[in-house]
Structures are given as C-alpha cells and as structure tokens.
Amino acid sequence: MTIPAALLDESAEDLFETAPCGYLTTAVDGRFLRVNRTFEEMAGREREDLLGKRRFQDLLTVGGRIYHETHLAPLLRMQGSVREIAVDLVRPDGSRLPALVNSVLRYDEAGRPAVIRTTVFDATDRRRYEQELLHARRREQEVALELQRSLLAGALTEGEGLELGVAYHPADKGLEVGGDWYDAFWLVPEETIAVVVGDVVGRGLAAAATMGQLRSALRALASTGFEPGALLEALSEFSRRHELGQMATVAYAEIDVRLGLMRYACAGHPPPVVVEPAKPARLASDGRSPPLDAYSFWTDRPDASLQLPPGGMVVFYSDGLIERSDRPLQAGLDELLASVDELRDARPDTVASSLAQAAAGTTGSPDDVCVLALRRRPART
C-alpha cells in the first residue's frame, strides 16, 4: 500500500495547523499571537476573532479564569512550564469544552519571559470519567456515614438511677467514617446497665459494617451471663472465627445503678475515667487485656470492679480523644483527667460533647472521637 504523496508533505506549517491538539502562542499576558486550525475548531472561533483581540484566559469560565490567575500563570512564571491543567473553554454558543492544558514559557535573549506556547487537549471523556469517580467516592462516604449513623441510632437507655450522655465527632480531616461505636442497654431493667465503647481498625464502609457486627455480637453475648472479661474473650473468639474486627479494642462495663457496683474489662482499650465526689478524677486502669483476636490462642481476660458512689461519674471514650501526633499518650491522658475534673459537675451529655468538641477542635486530631459519660444519680433525700 502506498501513502498518497499529499499526506507525506509534512511541512512544519501542516504539522502545526492540523496537529491533533490545539496549538497556540500567546504573549505573556495571554494575548493570542498565533493559533492553529485545531484550536479554532475547539474554541469555536476563527483566528480573526482571537489574534490580538482576546487573551487565552478570556475563553475560560470565570472559575477557570480565577484558577488561571492564581495557579496557572504564577506556576508558569515560577517553573517555566505547567502540565495537565484542567480548564473548560467556553464557546461563543455557551457550550463548554473540558480541556487539558500544557504550557511552556519561552524567554528572549536577555532571559525575560517573551511568549507562552500552549497545547490544548480535548478531555471531554476523561473529565466525565473523573467526575464519575469523584461522585462514586463521595457516594461511598455517604453510604458509610449513613450506615454508621443507622447503627448508632436509637434512643439511649435512660433510667431512674442514672444519667447518660454520648458524643460522636468524625475525624477533622479525611472524609471516610471511622469504626468507633458506643452502646448502652439494660441487662436487668432499672438495675444493671451494660455500657460499651469500641473501636474497629480501619475506615470506610468496611469498618462501619464490622463495627455493626461486633456491636450486635456483644449485645447477644451480654445476655448469656458471662463476666465482663470472659465476655470480651467470647467476643474475641467470635472475631477470630469469623475473621472480622481483628485488633478492635473494646471497653465493657456492667453497672448496678442501685448499689453502685461497676464490673468492667478493657480489651486493648484506653481506661475509663472515674469521678467520685470530692476526689480528683482517676483512670480505672485494671481489668486490662489485649485487643480482640490479637493472639491466636485463648487469652485470659481479667475483670475488675469498683464502687461508684451516688453522684459519681464514669467516662468511656475512644483513643481519638487522647491520641495526637504532637504529644505522648500520657500527656493526652493527663489532659483528659484535668478536663473531666473541670466538667465534674456538668450533665453527662455536656461532659461528652465538651470533651469530644475540644478534641475535634484541636489541630492534628486525625481520628474519630467517641465519648460516653454516665452518672449515677445522687441519692434522693
């Protein structure tokens, strides 16, 4: 097969005019000096309408023009070239052409910027696909958030003998939901309440789904009469057998609100804070064992107990409340104790929301924050 001679005439002029991309030269302020035929077609304008009359940025959307002035033009000046800048060209009929732009700055003999050479590529399909991806990502975040909300929804247990407050703040940065959860339910109505705060490893839809399963499993196991430590090991066994929630941490407590007896255990979870009237806040640091399914064998998980006097308060939370990149963990715990002390007379819902808000408001809190505060009502006089 022979190639027609006319097509082999690849003069510079022809290469320029019919290049498979828009090709143009502008002055440094953007005024058109030269454009090829492909660009005329893309822009929907004849060169007579462009050369000397308009600037490249005049053909962009207003948002694109701001972007041009604040990003593209300064970048070009600083590094001599820009690549893959996305803009929309607006045609005279109002239609838009999504495009990708590469530019190089050409200098005169004295080294001063003289002209800008730009190529423009039609990016209609690519942009549509990117937008689909962006929407899909946003949708997944929404679904995860909805799932998390629906799992955590439902009125919290209220009762004669106690006041309860919870707060949940998603991470300040990053759009994916985390795997923190809280729960509170009566084991024996008006007598013994079970309280849970847990934290599943990971983020997003998968973490939210795992959280839901662990939360339900723990609810089911709580009614079987296990002691708190044994219950957490049963939950760990559940996690191991079904391969979900490995290394999740859980704090679990059963509180007899009439007698003030609290029995609890923490699987890798930070210790609850206990506030007794007229005493400084302290950590309930007993009853500790490793996170769920941390080892592939049965783990002995001890219980602990403490006496919560009338008016006393206990605060459960996830590690997002105390862990920050810019300070050691102990500093976080000390700060938490001080904050709880300041809030010791506040209602539990105020305590929970104040603590969560303070943590979320600080810089560098990359994690979700979950707080549950419970106060044993003072004895009636």
Binding site: D29, R65, A73, P74, L175
Partner: protein
C-alpha cells in the same frame, strides 16, 4: 511543633533589621516572592512563610474550624510574629493575604509599622452598591476547577510529600510543586477567601498602608483597589503598569520600586 515550623518560616537578612514579612496569596506558596524579597534582605529582616496546607507547611495543622475564615489565617500570622518577637513589622500581603494582613493589623496594631497590600480585595462577591467582580456561581465554578486540578495530590503522592517534611526536595522535584495542596484544604481556603466580606475591617486599621493596584487585574479590579484605598484611614494607592493579578511575579522590578519608594517616605 512551633508556629515557625508549622508554617515553614524562612528568614533572610540582618537579625537586627526591621522585620519585613511576606505573605503569599491563595494558590501557591512563599516562592511567589522569590523575585521580590532579595531586593530587601540587605536592609530588612525578611520573614517568609507558607499558609497552612501550602508549600512546606504542616498540613496536619489545618483545622477546618480555625481556617474556615480569614481570621484563622490572621491568627496564624500573629502566632508567627509572637514566636519570633517581630515588632514594627512591614507586612507585605499578596491577594487574600492583603486582607489577612488587614485583619492582623486591626487586631494587634502594636505589631505593625506598615502594610503593603498587593492586589487587595475586601469582598470578591458583588453586593448592593458594590462590585466585587464575582457571583456565587463563579465561586462554585472555581471550586469545581480546584476539584479537577489536584496538581500532584493523588493518594500515591500525598504520603511521599507528607511523610518527608525534612526532605522538601522530594516534593520540589515533582511538577507543579509550588501550588500543590490537599484539595480539601484548597477548597476551604477558596471558600474563606472568596466568600469573605472584610469591608468593615478596613476602617479599623490604624497602620499606614500602601495599596498596589495592577492594571487589568481580573481578580481584584481597579475599582476594588480604589475602594480599599478610600476606606483605609491612612493609605496611598499606586497604580502599576504591570498587568494581571501577580505583579510580584510578572513585574518584580516595578513592584520592588513601588514598595521601596513608599517605605522611604
């Protein structure tokens, strides 16, 4: 982390010189001043920094509450001044940082000697009896542009940049590095910038100010510069023949000369 570490502060010139602080605008980092600051470092103690999320700053210091308005950025500027004990400061702010300087000077006038406002606008949105140049749809359109231009911020690149703050050359080697930022931070800064209304704050400024107005500035057109000059109690307006929104890059000689003339007064 101290404010100067968070904001990648770089200092040039004599330690006992009068402090001259350069603040970059929306979009890129302190490199925006590369053609300007060397003209002042013989005489002044030049202080450059990056706003949170830009350049070599600590992006983890971005706080969506603090940085939801320009007041948060002004507080960042004052935190740097406090840490470095800067007094009698000549503050040079480009674009939105002109207003950040206005807010900082209004809040703590004792820190500042002069303001140099390059392409300032106290409000970008049109309002009754005021032409800012933009509508809310325009700003929505800008946010879309930002979304389509993640400039080297893919999830594979971000850890390289974020994880090696002590090796800025890693980030520098990548294209578009001067304007790279987390898209979420860029969107927040765009909202704080383009939805701000700081017209009332101009009258609170006691610090003498120079307004540098480029010709044909699409972001802050001349009537806006004149409005700023009119409302500031003590200001001079200088019209530059430079075109565009970044005379500090496109006409550094003219920009330097105008600042020097003003400071010599």
């Amino acid at each position: 982390m101290s404010p100067s570490e968070r904001h990648n502060v770089t200092v040039h010139g004599p330690a006992d010189g009068q402090p001259m602080m350069f603040a970059h605008g929306f979009g890129c980092d302190q490199a925006m001043w590369r053609f300007v600051w060397p003209a002042f470092s013989d005489e002044y103690r030049v202080v450059l920094f990056d706003h949170v999320g830009y350049g070599g700053s600590d992006a983890a210091a971005f706080d969506r509450h603090r940085h939801a308005t320009l007041d948060g950025y002004a507080a960042d500027v004052l935190a740097i001044c406090d840490e470095l004990a800067l007094d009698d400061v000549v503050f040079v702010g480009h674009s939105v940082s002109a207003m950040i300087g206005v807010l900082a000077a209004a809040a703590r006038p004792e820190r500042f000697a002069r303001l140099v406002l390059v392409g300032p606008s106290p409000r970008y949105l049109d309002d009754e009896g005021y032409v800012g140049g933009f509508s809310e749809e325009d700003i929505a359109d800008l946010l879309e542009s930002l979304e389509s231009n993640y400039l080297g911020w893919s999830s594979t690149m971000a850890p390289v940049i974020m994880g090696n703050p002590e090796r800025p050359e890693l980030a520098r080697e990548l294209t578009n590095s001067f304007c790279r930022t987390d898209p979420e931070i860029a969107a927040a800064f765009a909202r704080a910038t383009f939805l701000a209304d700081n017209r009332q704050d101009l009258e609170r400024v006691r610090t003498p100010a120079l307004v540098l107005q480029a010709s044909d500035d699409a972001i802050a057109p001349r009537p806006v510069g004149e409005f700023v000059h009119d409302r500031l109690p003590d200001s001079r307006l200088v019209l530059l023949s430079a075109t565009g929104h970044c005379p500090n890059l496109s006409a550094p000689e003219e920009t330097v000369a105008a600042i020097k003339t003003y400071l010599a007064r």
